[in-house]
């Protein structure tokens, strides 16, 4: 290569900071598990491990969708409410009615069954997400505002639909999706794992995945490269809505009930999982693997603290601190990696 111009390019070889930057959350997760196991060896009993995994699979599913959204530098605050709304729709379809009083008396076989319920939850979730996406791109209202509105709208719709109360008592085949086991593995964990793998493949190996990173990395450059930025933005809100529907279905199955107050505050847990997993709120950086680790970190922390009789009040404090520390650590690594 003949080079007429000056400075050599900086090398991009691996260094300690790069490794830490990529695997920091994972290393932290392993350390955390080791500490809890040392405190109480029963922490790593398979029963407890699967318990943790089942706990994280609901918020984990939504976090997968949220990863797409945050990669585009967006945010979705409506996920908790949308989950409750989808759950309520699924319950009504499954039971064939909404009236609060008949919820326990109606036989589980009265409605349309689990498949119709699942389909309804997914469609409602996707459409609701799509509507928010269109509001963001067409009306040019920031995602924070649109989904903040969505947060109260979907909660209100849920309460209207259910008249404030739960709908309970599903058929066993429905409940299997929340409580069943395949071998030793809970079904929600399997659903989460499959979903995570698909999301990873989509983001890492498809044209669409590339577009998501490009739009989040630099929306103007993406537009000037010929990407249909608005369509891509709408799609990520459809995706997170879809996952709200899926999570709602699994949660209702697990609790054998669709609650009007389900998913309160989930948006914060979900966003925390994505951000702790290393996805940048400014878009363009992040991965599904990171989100899975982030969700696991929160799950392990909650379970481990509970295991050691730390009050739930203190748990909130610890999780909040970890969130801030994770982002601060990320920033610090970035500044070090550059110099």
């Amino acid at each position: 290569m003949t080079t007429s111009s000056s400075a050599p390019e900086p090398k991009s070889g691996p260094n300690l900071f790069r490794i830490l930057k990529q695997f920091g959350p994972l290393i932290f997760l392993i350390v955390l598990i080791a500490v809890f196991a040392a405190l109480k060896p029963s922490f790593i009993d398979p029963i407890n491990v699967f318990n943790i995994m089942r706990q994280i699979s609901i918020t984990g599913l939504i976090a997968l969708g949220m990863t797409f959204v945050i990669l585009t530098a967006g945010i979705d605050l409506s996920v908790g409410s949308l989950l409750a709304f989808c759950g309520m729709v699924a319950a009504i379809v499954a039971k064939g009615g909404a009236a609060n009083t008949m919820s326990l008396s109606a036989g589980p076989e009265a409605g349309l069954g689990w498949f119709a319920a699942l389909l309804a939850a997914l469609v409602v979730g996707s459409v609701a997400g799509g509507v928010q996406g269109v509001a963001i791109t067409r009306l040019k209202v920031p995602p924070f505002v649109v989904t903040l509105g969505g947060l109260t709208i979907f909660r209100g719709l849920t309460l209207t639909l259910s008249n404030g109360g739960p709908i309970s008592g599903f058929a066993p085949d429905f409940r299997w999706f929340g409580t069943g086991l395949v071998g030793p593995v809970p079904v929600p964990v399997i659903i989460f794992a499959i979903a995570a793998i698909i999301c990873h493949i989509v983001l890492r190996y498809t044209r669409f995945g590339r577009s998501v990173y490009a739009v989040g990395g630099n929306a103007e450059a993406a537009r000037l490269s010929g990407l249909r930025v608005d369509r891509i933005l709408v799609s990520v809100y459809v995706i997170v809505g879809f996952f709200c529907g899926l999570a709602a279905f699994v949660l209702s199955a697990r609790l054998n009930s669709a609650e009007a107050v389900a998913g309160m505050g989930y948006e914060l847990t979900v966003i925390s999982a994505v951000v702790i997993g290393g996805t940048s709120l400014f878009g363009g950086i992040g991965s599904v693997g990171g989100t899975v680790v982030g969700a696991a970190l929160i799950g392990v922390l909650q379970n481990g603290l509970q295991f050691n009789n730390v009050s739930s009040y203190t748990q909130s404090i610890v999780i909040g601190l970890i969130l801030i520390i994770a982002v601060a650590f990320d920033r610090w690594l970035k500044s070090r990696a550059r110099s």
């Binding site: 290569m1 003949t2 080079t3 007429s4 111009s5 000056s6 400075a7 050599p8 390019e9 900086p10 090398k11 991009s12 070889g13 190996y205 498809t206 044209r207 669409f208 590339r210 577009s211 990173y213 490009a214 990395g217 630099n218 103007e220 450059a221 993406a222 537009r223 000037l224 490269s225 010929g226 990407l227 249909r228 940048s280 363009g284 950086i285």
Partner: protein, 524 residues
Amino acid sequence: MAQPAIAPNASGPLLEVVGVSKHFSGVIALNDVSLDVRPGEILGLMGENGAGKSTLLKILSGAQPPTSGRISFAGADYRPATPNDAKRMGIVTIYQELSLIPTLTVAENIFIGRAPTGPLGLVNWRRMNEATRDIIARVGLAIDPRTPVSALSVAEQQMVEIARALSLESRLIIMDEPTSALTESEVTRLLSIMDRLRSEGVAIMFVTHRLEEASQICDRMTVLRDGRLAGTLVRENGRPIPLPHIIERMVGRAASDLYARPSERHAAGPTRMRVRGLRTVRNPDAPHAVVLNGVDLDLNAGEIVGIAGLVGSGRTELARAIFGADRIAAGSIELDGKPISPRSPADAIALGIGLVPEDRKHQAIFAMLGIQHNFSTATLDTWSNALGFMTEARERAALLDFKGQLSIRMASPEQQIDGLSGGNQQKVILARWLARDPKVLIVDEPTRGVDVGAKSEVHQILVQLAARGIAVMVISSELPEILAVSDRIVTMRQGRITGEMPAPEATEENLMALMALDRRQGAH
């Protein structure tokens, strides 16, 4: 307000810059520049892009210290540590991007940080508004002091800023391209106010591209070229400084010094794109952007057309309109004889048009992504199968192919693009478009932020593109670059084409005349 005691000295210079230089990590931006401004004088500071005007301004406004040299102001050593320092000492700089706070009122902006207060420390609104009325009257403004600044026109906002400078008892006002966003009648008004301030003894430094305005109003003109002093011109017997003298000083070097013509050309092929009567309307999101006012342009296969124009001439707007990035109000575009109307960049790209934008950092690169992912954003469809999965081996092979063709110096396709030099980043962006094999490629500022050594490489690439039959349109602020790379040169001013000539007939002087002068013939 306490002002530093200033010895009244009517005849001597107010500001004196002696042998000032500024180095940026090896690059010399200013080299031994000296100038002075006297009270009651308007000094023009002239020069092409990159001549060193902005650097000098940054030093005078306290944003950056000089590397060497001496500056004195009102007889004392002038070494401002911050822009606020400079203001306190009596030098106010008014930039193109005004520094008013749009949501606050005129009075609040003028008295920001120093609002008159009553005995309880509360703001005395009535006194503040009354004082504001007097202050803005000095610049001929008669608006309600309680008007929010966002409701004012750009010209009025500028007046408010000048009035604020006066109320701070500034002795020297530096204006950076104040007329670029104004209409002609607003310019006339601004010039008359400058004239009035001069008669009140205020010193003004007027930094501008617009030669007629400068020659009309300036008492003297200091011209910079390539970071050095190219001379100071003085108004004689009340007559404006002759434009040819200014142009001569501004361009003064042989164009062939820096840029050799890359290589022999092929003859131009058939017309690829025919633009007729192209007009745009004012975009509410970008109120300062220029409106195209009936542009005719032909781009031919295998030919490089250079678009020469000053900032605000409409050259970038022309590129954006053709590329579907801005809405077209009237006129037609034909591509290979067929009328087209791209409504988005995606449409334009599908038709075979490419654009390398002027601001690489904000409009072209994805800083946190790897080189390969940056390379393929315009060709994701080429490198993916029917199911939407990327065929990365082909994508990578194509990138490595371009790496060889364009001598892109990189460690690996995964390397983050912001680790590359400006020149190599630009080559990756060119490769992005080459991979699409466009019919028409628009390159806006091909070598902005590219080190000198790599500039000729980029020029060589542009010539190669034309040799493949692509119709290439190059926009550049650097006339030597336009001259070196173009086959045909078109000049623009205020949204119109003002001239067209084959490159061998063009000189920096006649181009500058067509770019900068109002309805004048170039010196053919």
